[in-house]
């Protein structure tokens, strides 16, 4: 029996994130599977919670008091209503699992934000969706380009760029950087771009110059 147990333990440890999540969804009552999930993801969930909290203006000492409760809430969300949330997962990869957990972590922080605001002033309800956007630590894209975005049709300008092999992708890269404020490093983490940080910086510079030339015409 002992051998069987250790075999099962090893088997669980070998599961990929996606497989483990599926296993948890299939076995809502299996303590050992859930414990593996908890041990593997507690720190990651804490990290996601902290980042979401910080982006909404939260402070470290508040998080020290709330963080552990929120981890519990994330797990409660996964299993409540007969595991509706966890059983709804349809992602294909481990990164999808991370994205799924991140979204639950973000919603947990959002719930807290809502209840805080409701407690403070019931008449002034703000969607939490607005909060991270407003307080994200946006990168500081070039102010010249930021001003240009308001003046010209960026999409049209980039589509007319003959040097570009993929104007559609360039438009996305442009908006991720100059509108959403992602850094070159953050954007280069998107695998489909197949760009290094320096490669991405070159693309951004090329687009910036293109737009500046267009305004001078």
């Amino acid at each position: 029996m002992k051998t069987q147990d250790s075999f099962e333990t090893n088997k669980r440890a070998d599961l990929s994130a996606r497989e483990l999540l599926a296993e948890c969804a299939r076995n809502l009552d299996d303590a050992t599977v859930w414990e593996e999930f908890y041990l593997r993801y507690r720190r990651k969930i804490l990290t996601y919670l902290w980042r979401a909290f910080r982006m909404s203006g939260g402070r470290p000492h508040d998080f020290l008091q709330l963080g552990d409760d929120w981890v519990q809430e994330v797990f409660a969300k996964l299993v409540k209503n007969n595991g509706r949330a966890i059983r709804s997962f349809r992602g294909l990869t481990d990164v999808s699992v991370s994205a799924f957990l991140a979204s639950i972590a973000v919603s947990t922080v959002a719930d807290h934000g809502r209840s805080q605001r409701a407690g403070r002033r019931r008449t002034q309800l703000i969607s939490f969706a607005d909060v991270p956007e407003a307080s994200l630590p946006h990168g500081r894209p070039d102010s010249t380009v930021s001003a240009l975005i308001d003046l010209i049709d960026v999409e049209k300008a980039l589509k007319g760029d003959e040097e570009s092999k993929n104007p559609e992708r360039d438009l996305l890269i442009f908006r991720l950087h100059f509108v959403e404020g992602l850094t070159a490093r953050e954007i280069s983490s998107i695998p489909s771009f197949k760009l290094t940080i320096s490669g991405l910086e070159k693309v951004l510079n090329r687009m910036k110059n293109r737009l500046l030339r267009r305004t001078q015409q």
């Binding site: 470290p60 998080f63 994205a99 998107i190 489909s192």
Partner: protein
């Protein structure tokens, strides 16, 4: 996946996109949608930031703190109740109420204990032994013994964590890390504390100690700047006077060190720190 381009993308689909597992067509559809849909692009950006694999030192410090301060275990599994039932019951109003009541009792007890300990100052550092030569704010004197093995010190720190948690300002957490000889984390928190309390000589002093003991290149000069700032606020602030002398010693500027040690004795003549200063002056033959 092809149909996703017509509607908004959820987090899992964005996760698949971030994993690079979509077909070329789905990938192109997704990117076309993201380029034009503000809400999906914002969500993608938010996910990229939240899911970043690189944990910055200040983030790691916060996570370490939450984990160090007694993480609550996942609810027990050995009852016939299902995991989901347990989790839901854990968050039921009845348990919440009981938890709040228990929490209040613990808080009152700890507050009482804290009040009693504060009543007989010095407060929180009373039982802390010196793990480095520099002097933390409000630190009572104890002899500094040079040792290579700090493990015993680490063990001794664990008992302080709950108290720190209850009063965890950035300065407190920074000091907690400082006492744990975790200088990088200490610096991160104390820099935050400095922004919160720019005129606090205690914070400046502790930040200086963190830089000084971190041993990194240029850290002595940064430490000196912090100590000097503490002394600008309070010229008789003994810990900073003591530490400035140490910095000069480590920089090999012994006449300046001596001058500062003598200056220290004008502010403090009787404490254990003062005795240490006197013995330093005697040892240097001056």
């Amino acid at each position: 996946m092809g149909g996703l381009a017509l509607s908004h993308y959820n987090n899992e689909s964005l996760g698949d996109y971030l994993s690079g597992v979509l077909s070329l067509k789905d990938e192109a559809d997704c990117e076309r949608h993201l380029a034009r849909c503000d809400s999906c692009r914002q969500q993608l950006s938010f996910l990229i930031r939240v899911m970043d694999d690189d944990l910055a030192p200040d983030e790691a410090a916060v996570i370490d703190c939450v984990e160090a301060f007694g993480p609550r275990r996942f609810p027990a599994f050995d009852e016939p109740m299902t995991v989901s039932e347990k989790l839901q019951s854990w968050f039921s109003p009845r348990w919440r109420l009981a938890s709040i009541a228990a929490g209040l009792m613990v808080c009152v007890s700890l507050a009482l204990a804290l009040w009693l300990s504060v009543g007989s100052s010095p407060p929180r550092l009373a039982s802390i032994e010196r793990t480095f030569e520099a002097r933390i704010a409000d630190q009572p004197y104890s002899e500094f013994i040079r040792t290579r093995n700090q493990s015993r010190v680490e063990e001794d720190r664990s008992g302080k964590s709950e108290l720190t948690r209850l009063r965890a300002s950035s300065a407190d957490i920074g000091r907690f890390y400082l006492m744990s000889n975790n200088f990088a984390q200490a610096i991160s928190y104390l820099e935050t504390a400095k922004k919160e309390q720019p005129a606090s000589p205690q914070v400046r002093n502790d930040l200086g100690v963190a830089y000084m003991e971190s041993g990194k290149e240029g850290s002595l000069l940064r430490a000196m700047a912090e100590f000097e700032e503490a002394l600008r606020v309070n010229p008789k602030y003994a810990p900073a006077l003591f530490n400035v002398a140490l910095v000069y010693e480590r920089l090999g500027q012994f006449p300046e060190a001596e001058q500062r040690l003598r200056l220290y004795l004008q502010a403090d003549q009787d404490s254990g720190w003062a005795k240490e200063v006197k013995s330093k002056l005697q040892a240097s033959g001056r």
